[in-house]
């Protein structure tokens, strides 16, 4: 199929960017969206032009690197997938596709479609972990009984790959689905209890510091999240913060 692409081009974080039109031809419907971008870049390189910079790593939907806001949706029109898993069969011959970087004050553009998501790393550093001794005398994890229900819910929360689609999608650029998932995966397990109070307080404080917006419960994040992280995790984070506040 033949497509028109409208792509955000921006030289670096300091230069102003703009949308630029490109044409690609003979795109197979079996290609992934990133493979289509590879075709475009090969074309640009052959013509002596600067290729479009975009993030990617695993190309199998687990690393969370690939981003892109495609036709007004994070990771494009398909559900439960990242951009590397989005197939060109979701589009039609002759389509115009608008491709923009994930947009949020806390995700500044580095170049073209590449954004800096280190604000997520700093939130994780603020408390998204448990402190365990790893010097060789670690306790066997199976020695601690955990109900199947709690284990399943914690696992669901832990599948968040930190891609940032929730922030990109949210009309308020809120990071609450991400932070809710990261708080929940520990809040549901006995190992997470020891540091629970400080964890939620510090992670929420860091989230606010990074300049993310406030949640309006539109639910857009849950729909666009490639891992189906549920809004329930935000409600749980809110409860955890209230609990932590009363504990002091």
């Amino acid at each position: 199929m033949n497509l028109t692409l409208k792509i955000w081009r921006q030289k670096d974080s300091k230069t102003k960017g703009q949308m630029v039109d490109y044409k690609v031809t003979d795109i197979s419907e079996h290609m992934s969206f990133l493979e289509m971008m590879d075709v475009l870049n090969e074309q640009l390189i052959n013509a002596g032009e600067e290729p479009v910079a975009f993030d990617h790593d695993c190309r199998e939907g687990i690393c969370g690197m690939c981003s892109m806001y495609i036709n007004g949706e994070a990771h494009g029109p398909d559900r439960g997938v990242t951009t590397c898993q989005l197939h060109m069969r979701m589009f039609k011959d002759g389509d115009t596709i608008t491709i923009e970087p994930f947009r949020a004050k806390a995700f500044p553009v580095i170049k073209d479609l590449v954004v800096d998501r280190s604000s997520f790393d700093r939130i994780q550093h603020a408390g998204g972990y448990i402190s365990v001794n790893t010097s060789g005398n670690t306790q066997d994890a199976n020695a601690i009984p955990i109900s199947k229900h709690a284990a399943d819910e914690a696992m669901d929360a832990a599948t968040c790959i930190g891609c940032g689609a929730c922030v990109a999608t949210c009309k308020n650029s809120s990071a609450m689905l991400f932070v809710g998932a990261k708080v929940s995966q520990y809040a549901l397990l006995p190992q997470g209890q020891v540091e629970a109070t400080d964890r939620v307080k510090n992670m929420v404080a860091q989230m606010d510091l990074e300049g993310f917006g406030n949640c309006s419960n539109t639910g857009a994040c849950e729909i666009e999240c490639p891992k189906g992280i549920s809004l329930e995790n935000i409600a749980r984070m809110n409860r955890e913060l209230l609990k932590a506040t009363f504990k002091g």
Partner: protein
């Protein structure tokens, strides 16, 4: 504690609390207004009680005033903060793909409600305060002393079709506001999804029935006059 209320989540709790109080107030207001359709007498008695009972006047009324003002001021603050969290807007954004119009436009439905509240204050609240606390007439009686004035005043307001029209538009926006707001307030307060599913049905019913009820009461008095 102070850090809690200035955090993004603390603000949401406070927003939800003020909203829950407003929804409770709305229900009570509706219960009294509906009396005017069935029994002018009962409406007069209830209005006089609410208008003169000290706990309502000096406890609930200030809480309500604070609740309304807090709610819309915080609504504006959140809106500004949220807009600032995305400096460069998307060239193409398909919000309808993942969220309801109501949830994305709470500030607009809220502004419509605020415009109505200003009218409502001029229509009812300021004359009430003037009669009772400035002129000092706590009797609740008509000027000629023949019975209570509340029913007369109410029906008189609904003669003008323009006012009835504005009233209807405002309540349609209130309905849209609550379509999202009702369940949103419970999500903000951290109610778990299992309980929320049941609440959601109740919330949709509340968001339709209560505003529709207010509209029907206005129409009833308009055509009954």
């Amino acid at each position: 504690m102070s850090r809690f209320f200035t955090s993004s989540i603390g603000r949401k709790y406070a927003m939800a609390l003020s909203a829950l109080f407003l929804m409770f107030f709305l229900l009570q207001h509706f219960a009294i207004n509906i009396l005017s359709v069935f029994s002018p007498n009962a409406f007069n008695e209830a209005s006089h009680f609410m208008g003169t009972f000290w706990a309502v006047q000096y406890l609930l009324q200030p809480v309500l005033l604070f609740g309304v003002i807090y709610h819309f001021v915080m609504g504006f603050i959140l809106e500004i903060k949220n807009r600032n969290a995305r400096v460069v807007k998307y060239a193409k954004n398909n919000g309808a793909a993942n969220s309801s119009w109501m949830s994305r436009n709470m500030i607009f439905s809220g502004l419509a409600i605020l415009a109505f509240l200003v009218l409502h204050f001029i229509d009812f609240w300021i004359p009430e305060i003037n009669t009772k606390y400035i002129q000092g007439d706590m009797s609740g009686l008509l000027a000629d002393g023949e019975g209570y004035r509340y029913y007369e005043e109410l029906t008189h307001k609904f003669v003008n079709p323009l006012r009835v029209g504005a009233y209807i538009v405002a309540f349609v926006f209130l309905s849209l506001h609550l379509m999202h707001g009702f369940s949103s307030a419970f999500q903000s307060s951290g109610v778990s999804s299992m309980r929320k599913e049941k609440l959601q049905k109740f919330g949709k019913a509340y968001a339709i029935i209560i505003p529709l009820g207010f509209i029907l009461i206005a129409l009833f008095h308009h055509f009954n006059h």
